[in-house]
Symmetry: C2
Amino acid sequence: MTGTASEAARALLAADNILILTHRRPDGDTTGCAGALCRGLRQLGKTAYILENVELTRRYEGLIAPCYAPADFVPDCVVTTDIADYGLLTDNAEPYRDRLDVVLDHHRSNAMAAPVRVVRETAGACAELIADVLDEMGVTLTADIAECLYIALSTDTGCFRYSNTTPDTLRIAARCLEAGVDGGEINRRLFEVKSWPRFQMERIIFDTMEFLMDGKIALVIIRRADINRTGADMDDLDSIASLTRQIEGVQVGITITENTDGTSKISVRTTKEVDASAICAKCGGGGHLRAGGASLSCGPDAARDQIVDAARQVYAESELA
Amino acid sequence: MTGTASEAARALLAADNILILTHRRPDGDTTGCAGALCRGLRQLGKTAYILENVELTRRYEGLIAPCYAPADFVPDCVVTTDIADYGLLTDNAEPYRDRLDVVLDHHRSNAMAAPVRVVRETAGACAELIADVLDEMGVTLTADIAECLYIALSTDTGCFRYSNTTPDTLRIAARCLEAGVDGGEINRRLFEVKSWPRFQMERIIFDTMEFLMDGKIALVIIRRADINRTGADMDDLDSIASLTRQIEGVQVGITITENTDGTSKISVRTTKEVDASAICAKCGGGGHLRAGGASLSCGPDAARDQIVDAARQVYAESELA
């Protein structure tokens, strides 16, 4: 059961002091949605804030950091944006866990409860829903609100490249450009410019990439020593697991990251021929059809052997079937 | 002076046998426009063909190759799509040079003459104009027409990433998705998958990239031996000159390609701080503010010294100014 954008708008219009929550490891969608909603509510004369998110990276800082709630803020309405599950609430959101008023999301798996709960599964970005809620409330799409929405839309759809991009994604982005957003400059910053650490990490990755099974499997190990040497941080390593799958003929891209404690994080990306979650399940992990993951307590080289075996098994099984 | 989409529509509707021309080194916009227009005219019962373009690469083959005109086709109306200048007409278009009926383009520099000449300078892709012409003629946007338009829009705007993307670009792309275009799959093929030769060329480029002036200048030499060894063709080297500018802090990206005869082709890409055409002009070339080029009769290493000198001079002059 999902509500409508106009129900959400009514609930928000009935409130005076609104607190907006974002999810752990905040991305462009959760921060863009929160930033747009907060600014829109303020335009209507409401007192609105965003709860601080300590995991915020510099990439999305401007969207929400200027709107952080003071410590003594007492909301009469708590809203979540793009948060699929209670486990994705930040630690400081714990007091609001059982008193959420409005849930706004687009994840099919959404497991949050609230009097008003709107989950638009068809949306490429949660920002499509937020745009409708803002329209329903009568908010004017100013340049600052449009910039938040645009960043949410573009980051969640690979800059309008992925199959989750909808006609609505594109039409709302068109309105954002009309509202004064400099899409070219934003996209250059978000999608084109490689930081020095990122550039060096990519160079290492492409130089050490290993190909198996006639190039159907590509495998990369991201070693802690390289991360330390290049000074790469979370932003620099963002979506680095997708690099393996970019090469012609690769069906299974495996990225093994050596954690600080010497254990291994495995990310598997596949094309439509292979089930990523089936491969990861053999190593105690899981995921979706085209993207899966697993955590192993061993080091990256032992992890390599396990996940390669798992991939080979999945291939063997599918050939038997 | 530029005409309107409805004037172009009227001229096309008045004709029965229409021939469409594409430009040399055909890209996604010229082929997508021609493909969409040809299919749209056929939907209206017209006899429409596209003149063969011998430089067509496999990437855009499906858009126009199936519509090539038979040798004995006699048009009563000749249309150009996305062709800015007579020098960009293919050799086999020579007989039509002085009898063009409709010119459809979006280049500010368009220098073509015709009874109906529509140049929409504000459009990110010529396909925006074509979409209007199709609408004016009453063509239904079927999936095959929409795919041509979508590819034209996405390739000319870096998949909606560049600053030339307009609200119209995005709204027409939205209609294309609604008409059944699989944008995710198209974009994966056009923008994400790297061929083996491309992957190897990028590896060479990133390994040998040279940085000057505290990283403000990045320089790459693409040697003929590497091209031959990797088997890279025109498609594989497409927009390879943009790689240098992707790195944080780089203001001037220089790519020198060794031609088959040992001479050098220089491409310069700059960020907003530096004028690319000013640098290229010092080596006998020219171009735009952020993209320029030059041809030198010397080999790539001598060309390197000349163009680096030119870049340093432009920096020195701007500091004096």
